[in-house]
């Protein structure tokens, strides 16, 4: 086997050394093609010295794979340097094609040492800083202006870096973070209900079905409280109690009230907060803002990310932008499914382009399917709308017990309100008596699909279940009647009173539902069905949020790090802002400290030229293609394949079929797609074609990843891996790792690297909601 290992450079027999002797650390590269058989063919000194007593000869067994023990004062720094040496060594080997390098151990999370609760503090104390004077000569590119990108741009600019921000919308304020409804978690413990950093950390890891990195999640929980302070100082109008203090509410999967909110528009208010912080820096000239610009490639110089190529969406101009580091904050890839709750323009292009240039893509198959969305009404549908998770607090989910009743409802022969209580199947309450309607999102979604697949669906397409508020209306109504001293037995009066209470709690959601479906949910149950909402998978990053391309960072939904296989409600906003305001601005300095003398990066370098030419070539190929089918035609088919074969439940046979079908579709796309107009104009179909081309590649990797992971965990349900009752069954022995894929020319050739996950502070348990 080809491998690189660390070793100490002994110059005499081992036992002749004292424990306090210092030796140099070497890299050894073993190669099977060595004509002399197995053996060392390259040995390289790293120049890093280590005392014998600080050397961990079992380094390959510890999760970080750090050879120098923490007893060495500079262990963090040294281990990091060693890791960099390995990366440099690898790129040296890669230039010489006769070597094939196995780099399974290079995938180091670069987690700092020490106890969990001290890691982030220690790390901040030890990482390198860039002086204010030097920051002025360093440029950073940020792609995307949602919660993560917006907050990162503002903070980096405030620290003194020169920031260039890019978004494809006409203003940074329109990024899709704006559509988040429910709230943002923070371990403030304002309610005194026993919340703490550890509890938030624990809930997040457990909710993610034990597939996230402990150290990252703990840091997230740790900085969460600061986010709320920051946002209030910025003038974000969170909901308040009559005493003038902040109000909280509760979300699924947790036992405390830690969610801060601004009615049903929390995402909007937080994003406008970040946008205002950006505006302040734009006014100071520290952020250069590029609206209506789409990133179409990343440029690497000497192995480091040094710039991007963009297309101006108004006039088609292809532009070069250079910087000392590139930050990708372009969100998730839910639009792979065509129908999702993502915005129409949300896309994977920026993430996919860096993947193709060397950034590993982690856990692509981990997708969140949200249980309460408005069902698809027909083929014309372009987009799905979410109904907040908070509705499950008061709504009961059901389908008819009898298939004939379900059919009669579908045909419009009977109304749901006419069906007797004993003819209804409240399947979540039946299957999960302990959690009932408040089971986590993945569980609720699968249960709905199971009922509809069995023929109990209630709308024309057979893909909808009821979310019924009648019980809550009556319960609240009786309380109100009692309070007012009115007749509690007058059912119509009680219901009227109850509807008022419901209106005050969920008024805007009910109005939204009525506008879209044209039914009044105060009088008839809502119809809901699961829809794609969020992607936990994304670009692989280490503890510093750096991808496997040096100098290229990924933050927010674009990276994979914090949510494991399932995300809890109100945690996406928390992660985006934590990454952007409080994590990246520190960790990026550690990388940029090497660039204080680099000076401006020229955009005339051959690497820029090459990247620009390849972008132009791609655009021209699409425009000149003599096809007849529109981009949406392909996107819709892709979405159907992914939804049907890689959706809420997956199996080996269908995943294999999906891979073949997507590959065929991709070939068909390049043969038969029709893109009208020219490059030099506002051309939405062209922009869309470039995005869909990338989805067509990602889709295949997505299916491949789902095929490879034969266990069920969180949002990823493999039919082969379930309990006799049909619950998801994890396989911790074989799958407690992050799947990080390396691009090798095409998605089918992608190479799997595993980042082992270890849980030192939490016990791995089976999630049970019974």
């Amino acid at each position: 086997m080809n491998r690189i290992t660390y070793s100490l450079n002994y110059r005499k027999p081992k036992d002749q050394y004292k424990a306090s002797d210092e030796l140099t650390v070497c890299l050894r590269y073993f190669h099977k093609n060595n004509p002399k058989g197995k053996g060392k063919i390259i040995k390289k000194s790293t120049g890093i010295k280590c005392k014998l007593s600080d050397w961990d000869s079992d380094w390959h067994k510890n999760p970080n794979r750090y050879p120098i023990k923490s007893s060495d004062k500079f262990s963090i720094k040294k281990n990091k340097l060693l890791n960099e040496k390995v990366i440099n060594f690898k790129s040296f080997l890669k230039k010489d094609s006769q070597f094939e390098v196995s780099d399974s151990f290079v995938l180091s999370s670069n987690e700092p040492d020490g106890p969990l609760a001290q890691k982030w503090t220690n790390h901040k104390n030890n990482i390198r800083l860039v002086s204010p004077a030097n920051k002025r000569s360093i440029d950073v590119i940020v792609v995307g202006t949602g919660l993560a990108g917006g907050s990162a741009s503002a903070t980096l600019a405030e620290l003194g870096y020169n920031v260039k921000s890019f978004c494809f919308q006409d203003s940074p304020r329109r990024a899709h973070s704006i559509a988040a409804q429910g709230g943002i978690n923070a371990a403030k413990n304002y309610q005194g209900d026993g919340d703490s950093t550890f509890r938030l950390f624990y809930d997040t890891v457990k909710g993610g079905d034990y597939r996230s990195r402990e150290s990252n999640v703990y840091r997230l929980a740790e900085v969460s409280a600061n986010i709320i302070d920051q946002c209030v100082a910025q003038g974000v109008p969170f909901a308040r109690e009559y005493g003038g203090l902040l109000d909280n509410r509760s979300f699924g999967g947790v036992l405390v009230s830690r969610t801060f909110y601004a009615k049903g528009q929390t995402g909007q208010q937080l994003l406008l907060g970040a946008y205002s912080a950006m505006n302040r820096q734009i006014a100071r000239g520290k952020i250069q803002m590029f609206n209506r610009h789409e990133m179409l490639d990343v440029v690497k110089v000497d192995g480091k990310a040094r710039g991007i190529i963009t297309r101006n969406l108004i006039n088609g101009k292809i532009e070069r932008h250079s910087a000392h580091a590139v930050v990708i904050a372009s969100g998730g890839y839910g639009n792979l499914f065509f129908l999702s709750t993502n915005a129409m323009g949300s896309n994977v292009t920026a993430s996919w382009k860096i993947h193709k240039k060397g950034a590993f893509f982690a856990n692509p198959c981990f997708t969140q399917i949200h249980p309460t969305c408005i069902p698809v009404s027909g083929d014309h549908q372009s987009k799905l709308t979410l109904m907040s998770e908070s509705l499950r607090n008061d709504g009961r989910i059901w389908v008819p017990k009898d298939k004939n009743d379900a059919k009669a409802i579908r045909d419009g022969k009977i109304k749901p309100t006419e069906l007797d209580e004993n003819k209804r199947d409240y399947y979540l309450e039946r299957r999960y008596p302990a959690f009932g309607n408040l089971v986590p999102r993945d569980v609720a979604s699968r249960a709905a699909k199971e009922r509809c697949d069995a023929g109990y669906g209630v709308n024309k397409t057979g893909e909808a279940v009821y979310l019924d508020f009648e019980a809550a209306i009556i319960r609240y109504g009786k309380e109100k009647a009692h309070l007012k001293g009115l007749n509690e037995d007058d059912i119509e009066l009680v219901k009227d009173l109850g509807r008022e209470v419901i209106k005050s709690k969920y008024g805007n959601l009910f109005q939204m539902y009525e506008k879209i479906v044209d039914q009044n949910p105060y009088f008839t149950p809502m119809m809901i069905y699961p829809a794609v909402h969020y992607t936990m998978g994304g670009v692989w990053v280490d503890y510093n949020l750096m991808t496997t391309i040096p100098g290229c960072f990924a933050i927010g939904e674009a990276n994979f790090s914090d949510h494991g296989a399932n995300r809890l409600g109100a945690s996406a906003l928390m992660q985006g802002l934590a990454d952007g305001y409080f994590v990246l601005p520190y960790t990026i300095g550690n990388y940029l400290a090497d660039d204080i003398r680099t000076g401006p990066i020229s955009t005339d370098l051959p690497e820029f030229n090459e990247a620009e030419e390849s972008v132009k070539l791609k655009i021209n190929t699409l425009l000149k293609n003599n096809g007849s089918k529109t981009v949406d035609y392909f996107h819709k088919i892709l979405g159907k394949i992914i939804w049907n074969k890689c959706g809420m439940s997956r199996n080996k046979k269908e995943l294999k079929e999906a891979i073949v079908e997507i590959k065929k579709l991709r070939e068909d796309f390049y043969k038969n797609v029709y893109v009208p107009g020219t490059n030099e104009s506002f051309n939405e179909p062209l922009a869309k074609a470039l995005r869909v081309a990338d989805f067509l590649e990602l889709g295949e990797l997505f299916a491949k990843d789902a095929l490879e992971r034969t266990e069920s965990c969180g949002g990823h349900f493999r039919e082969e891996s379930q309990t006799p009752e049909g619950e998801a069954m994890r396989d911790d022995k074989n799958f407690t790792f992050v799947s990080a894929w390396e691009f090798k020319g095409s998605p089918s050739e992608a190479k799997l690297h595993k980042e082992k996950l270890s849980y030192d502070n939490i016990e791995l348990k089976t999630r049970s909601y019974k």
Binding site: S151, D170, R173, H176, G235, S276, A283, K383, K515, D518
Partner: protein, 248 residues
Amino acid sequence: MKLKLKIWRQKNSDSKGKMVTYEIENISPDMSFLEMMDVLNEELMSKGVDPVAFDHDCREGICGSCSMFINGEAHGPDRYVTTCQLHMRKFKDGDTIYIEPFRAKTFPVIKDLVVDRTSFDRIQHSGGYISVNTSGNTQDANAIPIEKVNADKAFDAATCIGCGACVATCKNSSAMLFVSAKVSQFALLPQGEVEATDRVLNMVKQMDEEGFGNCTNTGACEVECPKGISLDNIARMNRELLKAQFKK
């Protein structure tokens, strides 16, 4: 449903535009207005005609991208909705629908129904923020209690989505509703008080420099605002401005 659409077509900001008529069939009343436009564009492309360009993104009424003037009303005939939330059931079979971009000197047309609203961004750059560093080293979020009434009013003002319907509706192309929403949000919160004087002066100055008109209190903007931003905000901004002018 069968409809006749009269749509503003304009190649780019330099060329002259005109209304062009298209007929469209098989429209379901359950479609949203933008889904109807999708159907039209698919049809146009199949005939080799350049599709109609329009801004859209979230399609759930919050991003503020969509900007169509339908039958003489910003975002069409329904109330408290954006174009993406408008459904075809609001129209009748056989209707003729006029679709234009949001028109104002300060919103130049980029193509067809797409307009340039960066003037709004520039107004925000001039003072739409509180000057606090994002380091997180601020005081505890509960250190300053805020009266619920004021917090709620600030929230209501802050729900503005920056779509520009107010400007497109106003006969003077005034941006007072938009600007006053931001000024009010901060004026109502203790955090925003410190910079209140400079903020209102700078934002109003920028608004005038961009070429937006003045307010003559017709209240049309409030009626057409998809988020129901109240005219009270304009009154509040005028009060803030007067206060600021005396201070300076």
